[in-house]
Amino acid sequence: MKNKEPLILVVVVAFSLLTYWLVEPFAHSVMHKHVESQNFAYADLPAITKTGNVANGKELTMGAGGCTGCHSITKEGIPANMDAVTAAGVYGVNPPDLSDAGAVYDAKFLADLIKNPAHALKVEHKFDAAKGQMHPMVAFYGAGGDIDQEVADMVAYMQSIAVSKDELTPRMAYENACGRCHEMRYENWTQLGTKPSFKFEKDALAYDIEVLEYQEALTAYMGKLPPDLSAYIRSRSEHFLSTFIEDPQAHLAGTAMPRVGVTADAAQKIIEHMADAGDTKRHERASVGANVMWYILIFAIFAYLWKRSVWKELH
């Protein structure tokens, strides 16, 4: 009698794969908007035409630029004017420390941010100057000279004090670009920073209250408390995370989340940090996976040989 098993196998596999393709790749391609990556080129932002002067930039940043009125630069010994909770009460969110801004953020983005924050951040729908909705970051209108030169100087200064690309760790990238809005409980991270361990419960509770106060101000500012990102590496695809970080409006028009303007390198590191929080066993999964596959393959070969020896007498 003819052996029908290969044909049956083809039929079973074909129908299974068809069903899989329909409910997974096909259905998801219909359900989710596809956003192409722009490779963090920020093509909508004007290019920097001037060559920045670091010394001049430092002077502007510390002086006429007015940056240090709100921003700390701990690397240069400039502390924040107020603590994070108070700052969030005033601005909605704690203004970032500028020590490593030059390494995390794209230069074009920084330049545009200094001149027109709501534009660079893509939150003009929320902060329309014509309607009197001022962005909490005050725009720089120039210190008397060529404004483009002055902005280029400040950007050059920030780049000069920042860590190098190689020194920027995934954690640093996350804490700089995301950490003031997004908690990451699985990494013990709150919007105020890494939660210390306390000896006494009342100190821990006092810290929690500070976090809650910060979150209250942040919620009022954003409309909703930005989500904890602990498990985002599993709940969103890497492509989604990358394109969302690049331009939140492309996925979710009208969202309060600003474009954070990170470099491609920083974005990749942010995603890596998310993986370090929500998919810590990915390397173990790869190595255990390979071993298990070999083991099962050998098992299947032995099972086949056993079957052959048993069935020899049956035919």
Partner: protein, 404 residues
């Protein structure tokens, strides 16, 4: 009282008390299986192995899982996935096995339909199998609630809500099932109990019944041949192994079972390590939030076909169609009026019916996941009507079937 003599060996000692040799014959070496079967007959063993994987991985997960609305999500995603050694492996095995078990169940079911293995004394096999399908569905649904993610919460909300829809309006029943107005702690606790105790007990009992139902009518074969098991087994025991039409369950059939299990496990572990998102839905990695409805709520893939039978109609008609879809498979042995217990390929119109049903259910499955808009809702409606028409037509198609 039976006579006990001084045992000559441990085996003899056990034999006197437990009749282990007799049990071994009944269960394995003289449990006769026809030889003319193909690999689809190994799906029972594949299911048994998958169930064992679910049970073992479930026991490990149970040691760390916390059935509390404030702790459940983190006990799964932090404790089990990050802290516990190989916790991620147990979870991936459990999640993937829960999905794959349905793929194998469907293959097993359609094999039964194709070869007519629910007829002529095999009705109880079919019924116990369908009861297993229903219980596995309840087990899968209750398990899906436990990580308390967005899909857990909203699937729990939508599915329990079914009873309050349309003229059914059983709001009291919905509250009774939930133990609250919305899925909350009472809901999670009871679904936890169902998932780890009551339903597994029922499943194990039903597996026993399913196996027992197989003993008297014997396993069907791929040629629809009536085999005289008595005579053929005598032939085998007399030494004519090659000439006999039957073989021992163990080791003869078992060796082939294990070969197929080996191939299956390669596929299974590939999914566990390299392609698991279809079974561990990304949306469920967002913690449950009763103020934020996910954009798309859909059940796991194995419920999609019946979900799509509910969806394209007006509420009341949809509920009736849904109820119809839930029970109709159980009635198959009586809806099929044909006297033939042969493969569908030799049954004329029934063969067409079989392939149409299979394709229709795949279409329903796909439409059940896609958003019900435009062309998809039209296709869904047609497929749902087709499903109903196919089942209503079955007795008429098979009534006039010629005896082969």
């Amino acid at each position: 009282m039976a006579q006990f003599t001084k045992a000559t060996s441990i085996k003899d000692w056990l034999n006197q008390r437990l009749a282990i040799e007799k049990v071994e014959k009944v269960m394995a070496s003289e449990y006769w299986i026809p030889k003319n079967i193909n690999f689809l007959w190994a799906m029972g063993m594949v299911l048994a192995i998958t169930f064992a994987l679910l049970l073992v991985s479930g026991i490990f997960l149970l040691m760390y899982y916390q059935p509390h609305v404030d702790l459940a999500f983190d006990s799964v995603n932090y404790t089990i996935m990050r802290e516990v050694d190989f916790g991620w492996l147990w979870r991936h095995i459990h999640g993937v096995a829960a999905s794959v078990v349905f793929l194998v169940i469907y293959i097993h079911m359609f094999t039964g339909i194709y070869y007519g293995s629910y007829k002529k004394g095999r009705e109880m096999i079919w019924i116990s199998g369908m009861l297993l399908f229903v219980t596995f569905s309840a087990e899968a649904f209750s398990g899906y609630m436990l990580p308390w993610g967005q899909m857990s919460y909203w699937a729990g909300m939508v599915i329990t809500n079914i009873f309050s829809l349309g003229d059914l309006h059983l709001d009291g029943l919905v509250e009774w099932i939930r133990g609250d107005y919305v899925p909350a702690q009472a809901f999670l606790s009871r679904f936890f109990m169902l998932h780890v105790l009551l339903l597994p007990l029922v499943i194990i009992g039903l597996i026993g019944l399913h196996f027992a139902a197989l003993r008297i009518p014997h396993v069907n074969n791929q040629d629809g041949e009536e085999i005289d098991f008595e005579a053929e087994s005598k032939k085998y025991l007399a030494g004519d192994k090659a000439g006999s039409k039957v073989m021992r369950f163990a080791n003869d059939f078992m060796s082939k079972d294990m070969m197929i299990v080996g191939i299956y496990l390669i596929f299974f572990f590939y999914l566990v390590f390299y392609n698991y998102s279809f079974a561990l839905d990304p949306v469920n990695f967002d913690p449950a939030d009763m103020l934020k409805t996910p954009t798309h709520i859909y059940p796991e893939w194995y419920f999609l076909w019946s979900y799509e039978i509910l969806r394209p109609f007006s509420v009341n008609i949809g509920l009736i169609a849904f109820g119809f879809a839930q029970v109709i498979f159980v009635l198959l042995p009586w809806l099929d009026r044909s006297p033939n217990t042969v493969p569908a390929s030799r049954r004329g119109l029934f063969q067409i019916w079989f392939w149409l049903l299979l394709i229709d259910m795949i279409v329903l499955t796909a439409m059940g996941k896609l958003p019900p808009e435009g062309i998809f809702s039209t296709i869904g409606l047609v497929a749902a009507l087709m499903f109903i028409v196919l089942w209503i037509a079955l007795p008429f198609i098979t009534m006039n079937e010629k005896k082969v």
